[in-house]
Symmetry: C2
Subunit: 490 residues, 2 copies
Amino acid sequence: MTENHIIEMFLHPKSVAVIGASKNPLKGGYRIVTNLISNNFKGRVYLVNPNTEGELYKLKFHKSVLDIKEEVEIAIFYVPNHTIPELLKECIQKGIKGAIIEASGFEEVGEKGMVLKDRILDITQNFSRIRIVGPNCMGLSTIEGDSDTENKSGFFSGFGVFSKYKRGNIAIISQSGMLNGGYLMHEITQHPEMGLRYSCSIGNKMDIGEIEFMEYLIEDPTVNVIALYLESFKNPRKFIYLCNLVRKLPNKTIILVKGGLTPLGQKATLSHTGSLAEDANLIKAIIKQSGIIQANSFYEMFQYAQTFSMFYNSKKKLPKEGKAAFIAGSGGAGTITADLTMKYGLKFPEFSNETYKILIDVFPEWMPPNRFAFVDIWPAMEKAMMNKIKPDVIMKKVYEAVLNDPEIEGLFNMMFCSRQFKAMNDFEDIAKSVQATDKPIFFWLIGEAKEVKKTSNLLAKYNIPNFPSLEDMVKNFRVLFQESMNKQRK
Amino acid sequence: MTENHIIEMFLHPKSVAVIGASKNPLKGGYRIVTNLISNNFKGRVYLVNPNTEGELYKLKFHKSVLDIKEEVEIAIFYVPNHTIPELLKECIQKGIKGAIIEASGFEEVGEKGMVLKDRILDITQNFSRIRIVGPNCMGLSTIEGDSDTENKSGFFSGFGVFSKYKRGNIAIISQSGMLNGGYLMHEITQHPEMGLRYSCSIGNKMDIGEIEFMEYLIEDPTVNVIALYLESFKNPRKFIYLCNLVRKLPNKTIILVKGGLTPLGQKATLSHTGSLAEDANLIKAIIKQSGIIQANSFYEMFQYAQTFSMFYNSKKKLPKEGKAAFIAGSGGAGTITADLTMKYGLKFPEFSNETYKILIDVFPEWMPPNRFAFVDIWPAMEKAMMNKIKPDVIMKKVYEAVLNDPEIEGLFNMMFCSRQFKAMNDFEDIAKSVQATDKPIFFWLIGEAKEVKKTSNLLAKYNIPNFPSLEDMVKNFRVLFQESMNKQRK
């Protein structure tokens, strides 16, 4: 169903012309071409620059799109804003159907930019002759095959060159270019295990905006998580409608960061994407009616996206009542997590009698387990060591009991990662033994930085998320609970 | 003044006996000795274990403290709880003045533990014959010299062996042992630039508690930041009094994480440190009257501690009105930060006329700068490149103008760290040029993980903090603003 959608040609183009291609490695027009070629883009690529002769990456420069003999589906514009109207005319004449325009200097700069916009409206006959993504954007990215495999392939049309990435089920739609540039690079190098499918920088959305991309991504079966950064809603009614469609799908989640929630933020959006101030109450109402997950920052947005990504990959169940247990080797961590759990509207319930019996058995008499779902595991470890039982055996027993408890919908864990205490933590074993459950499992990893990194990578292989802070861990369970309520809402 | 305080012998002991010392590398009694020896503890060390013959690290085992010929100042107990009363008797007989007791199984386990406690009260004559830190704690740490220098030295009495650390101006007092164990290791390996002076695990605080340590640390000129994790207030009146003393000092800040703020958290504290539930309103009142910085989690506590540590190291001024500017290469980051700035009660003010004039000069005509204190630097960079001016030159000009603006009390920065755009970011140059100002400067670093790490280390050399999220950056400026109000309060 996605093949006939207007977005198909933008995310999976058969051929692209790079207008403003350059041989100068310092220029964006060089980087865009590099991004296409070095990432094995499967479509045809044509270089266009009236001032450049010769070749780049064995591709010939053309003076104009009109000099290209073959058919061209879309054009990527990396040229100054004032040259765009005339170049668009040539694209239309050539039969090019779509343009990605990266230049800024339109609505966001006031009157002069509006004049330019009017000319574009006129030339394109209100976008009926050619469709536009942007302007003031940083291009679109589609990841086809992981960068560290033979199948390495992607369509990267921004001017930040990507070299390491993993294909996955997350798609981004953003009015901030850096989410297809510097910040995306940040996230995927900090979290190399994070799998992405698309990143769409939509800029000022003069023509195409979040709605068209959402329509496409909702239909695309490779996408489970749609993360949006919006400074304005182009069509609130349609936005709510699409979000409510997603609410009824068992395998999709929408996460939104809304910029411009405060008067100061709105001042910033005006100069950024030319987004006019929206009424704060209207924004609240839109978000409420949409039934989506709201994030406060890019950091939260990516963390939530990764949590849902792993959740869908591992086919877990959403917690219907927000009831979690915590297994930890620190009473202090248990206390803080208990406080945070209440603060975020979640619960540590009482264990069932069956679970409690098993716990009593593995805990020493002088330090019985809690009746409520916080297991301070340390005394049980000590008892095991005194009885010459491997701590792993006890850990597995506790995990199994807690995960089988019908009162428990998900599990928090604290793990201490250290070469000093290696014997106590056979993570691979634990990860394997808990992956069969359909209850979400979250880890808080502490210890020596290197060991933490190693364990984090290992857990990711089993689609088990981990978090740098207890608050992040609790907040991420909260969004699963929230999504459960979203999906249940009529 | 600190020399005569009871805590002096606990943090700078001249001689210690390790009761429960062991030759078995898997035991805590082995690790404690290793921690002392491998970290060049300057005092004398005596090993005590009735069941062990021979030597460890060329130190002889003694059957009892009574067999030690020389004077012993304090004893570290790593033995089962029920053996403690008799061993304490011997310590008193030997003239040992203080004991650090790491075993658990006292107030926190109910009746049996209370019986044990009563025996200890009896034997010590209400701690008049020997003073006790703990029980249920993970020891005390004093860092004397950085681990990577010839002066490497410290007193580490916990059973997690420390090997990498940096001496600095932060002291921790904690009712969670992991803040002198696993989590401390986590923080100092994740942030090797963080400088610590002491970490004091006070456990159940049967005798000595937060009050005594606070008294000592307030007088200690090597400490600027006191970070506390408490599950109960031992003496609320005295706590408020000491906090109010600190409020009047220009070079000290207290940060508190309070565990057990909610009924669920209080259930956890009871089984952890035997802390009884405190009335939520009373806790609120204590914190309010104390005029300290409250943190929600260990993560926040360490981040705030590091921020204040660098703040005092670099002799900055607290922002009196919470007015910051933001220089960034992303309008989206500007928008989100503007929203967060308002949310946390801070301001991006209007620039003064002088600053605005300088900005107008470096910005292109088609994209003028904002009048309010968010500088979206990208267009100025583009203009510089078109005019063949090095971007660095423009950056410095903008920094200088903004930092000289009397309306601005602090600066947020976004920096993109990437080998691709190396030419644009000579951080060392920027870091040097901004370090002279007395206005706090915070960075948000994004980009390739390795480059981010490198830049983070570089900034730390100049005592410039950086944060992984925009929200963390804004929150940390907010606590400086809050501390300014604390210090101004009568």
